[in-house]
Amino acid sequence: MIRVELSKMLRRPLTWVTIVALNALPTLVAVLLALTDIGPRPGTGPPFLSAVLTDGTLFPLAALGIVLPLFLPVAVAVVGGDAIAGEVQSDTLRYLLVRPVSRLRLLVAKLTSIIAFVVLATLVVALVAYVEGKLLLGKATGGVVSVSGSALTQTQMAERTGMAFVYVVLAMLGVAAIALLLSTMTDSAVAAALGTIGFLVASTVLLGLDAAESVKPYLVTRYWLSFVDLFRDPIRWTDVIHGVLAQLAYLVVFAGAAWANFATRDVNR
């Protein structure tokens, strides 16, 4: 079933349209930076964007920083919201279930394919950004500088970029699980996607509110940008680890709720 879901995901036009759309913004940013040479002021704008003017090889990280707060989660919400509700809309859910595909296995396969989508989307964004950085942006000579000012060797840089990549993928687990739950609760893929986006907006609003201090560790968006911590020297693990654990917790709870809701739900369409 997992193989079937993966092949379905790869053959869907939606998947590729979404990935192209994801690449649009970083590409525009790269072009604008190359033309104007104006970086954001310190403390504003996405991470690493000021550094790419001198070192274009950092642009994959900057691109991840650009898509991570909004575009990537929206894409995951759309793809995840489509998981079950989309099958209902194409009248195929009942035929999968009478095949029979067990409902639990269907959920697992759907979740796997959403995560595979995240991996694919992030990989494409990073590769496109790498090419853009090489072609359009600054060519540094003295090696990569960490956020803390020290020099990073090629190996260190490769390791940390790899970890950042994994972290970004893990950061989307929570969104994927929420979208999956909502997708089992409604017959409309759009409603499920919008619900997930609403959840993310609420989380982002609360994150900016001092009065919400006590709930902040529980917010799904809380540790998203902590992948920057991987490029400090020494690496600051606290938030990275908290972030991964928080995402796993979201995954367990929301995927569990999706299972609780879907396992005996009447499939009326």
Binding site: G43, G149, S150, A151, L152, P217, A260, A263
Partner: protein, 365 residues
């Protein structure tokens, strides 16, 4: 499994996961029997304890200042600051101020300080000098507690119940300034039971104030002394270097102004060794403090404009005054030059101090 059971299982798992972040600080703190004065002494002696960890400080005093010179002070007093700190001793430390998109590091390596800013891709080296505006290191609980408790009298000190901070038992100490001129109601310090290292400092402006005007605490702590490497600067060769005379250019340059401030203002004695501070005067005791800095005309003008724009500022016979929370600020324009006075004292006290300063300052050139 019937649907209700499944939902119950999910709810239980959610509850367990949600309670995990609360567990580490849920262990009750051990109450210690140490006396207030002894605790204050132990905190004072803990300045040589080496440690590393993270500091979170939150200020709620909105100072209407911005820009390169005073913006940093306004940020420390009014916003949240997150620091990674490596502390070998008071002369060898490193503070990394974390931002979502970069960081600003200050490293003191004996007589040398280096300041690194990621977004500017620049590091500047300056010789260490006590004359500087408040910086990130001043909100590190260990540094702040020592400054606020300096010269405290036994009658001002009392014990507070222990609390668990950064996973450690911390003994509490309260300082209520006896000085009526102070705008600080009380200062609460919690220090690690075994080493005396301050873990949390809270400054209150009102006696029954619910929220502190400044609160800083360690969110994680490792009590092993950092190695020399950890507090030493190792920089990539592809960054910009610069050398300066002072950490904050404006305040530093002004410190070499041709003035000698008087020994007391408004009855508050001058602090520290006079030769260290040059033209800058630091007065008072503990949390009752006044700072007097001479300013060049160009900087004074900019500052005056910024203060005037604030709705709460007022022009008095002595100068341009503003009070924000417990902090009083007065910009004086005298015959002998411009002085900025700032302190945690009442505005009346600050006016007296300004008058005393104008009368007592000696011009050397």
């Amino acid at each position: 499994m019937i649907p209700a059971t499944r939902w119950l299982v999910v709810a239980l798992v959610a509850a367990v996961l949600a309670s995990l972040p609360l567990v580490s600080n849920a262990v009750p703190a051990k109450e210690s029997r140490i006396g207030a004065t002894a605790l204050a002494r132990r905190i004072h002696d803990a300045s040589d304890v080496g440690w590393s960890g993270e500091v979170r400080s939150l200020g709620s005093v909105q100072v209407p200042l911005s820009g390169a010179t005073f913006g940093g002070v306004a940020r420390l007093l009014g916003e949240e600051t997150r620091l990674r700190v490596w502390w070998r001793d008071p002369e060898n430390w490193r503070t990394d101020r974390l931002r979502a998109t970069g960081e600003t590091d200050v490293v003191r390596d004996g007589g040398l300080t280096a300041q690194w800013n990621y977004e500017d891709n620049q590091v500047s080296f300056t010789p260490y000098s006590p004359i500087r505006l408040p910086g990130d290191v001043d909100v590190v609980p260990a540094a702040l507690a020592r400054r606020l408790l300096a010269g405290a009298r036994p009658g001002e000190l009392s014990r507070l119940p222990a609390q668990r901070i950064a996973g450690r038992s911390a003994a509490g100490l309260r300082l209520v300034p006896a000085d009526k001129r102070s705008t600080i109601a009380h200062v609460d310090v919690w220090a690690d039971e075994s080493t005396g290292l301050p873990l949390r400092v809270q400054v209150y402006a009102e006696p029954a104030g619910r929220a502190p005007v400044l609160s800083t605490e360690l969110t994680s702590l490792d009590l092993t002394r950092p190695t020399v490497d950890q507090t030493h600067f190792t920089f990539s060769r592809s960054i910009h270097y610069s050398r300066g005379v002072s950490l904050d250019a404006a305040a530093g340059a002004n410190a070499y102004a041709p003035f000698i401030p008087p020994d007391t203002v408004a009855g508050l004695p001058r602090r520290g060794r006079a030769e260290d501070f040059g033209a800058v005067g630091v007065y008072g005791r503990g949390p009752t403090a006044v700072l007097a800095v001479p300013l060049r005309d160009s900087i004074a003008r900019g500052l005056r404009d910024q203060l005037r724009r604030s709705a709460t500022s007022k022009e008095t016979a002595v100068g341009l005054e503003i009070q924000v929370g417990p902090l009083s600020v007065l910009l004086q324009r005298g015959r002998r030059g411009n002085f900025l006075l700032a302190g945690t004292v009442t505005t009346a006290t600050l006016e007296t101090a300004a008058t005393d300063l104008a009368a007592g300052v000696v011009r050397t050139r």
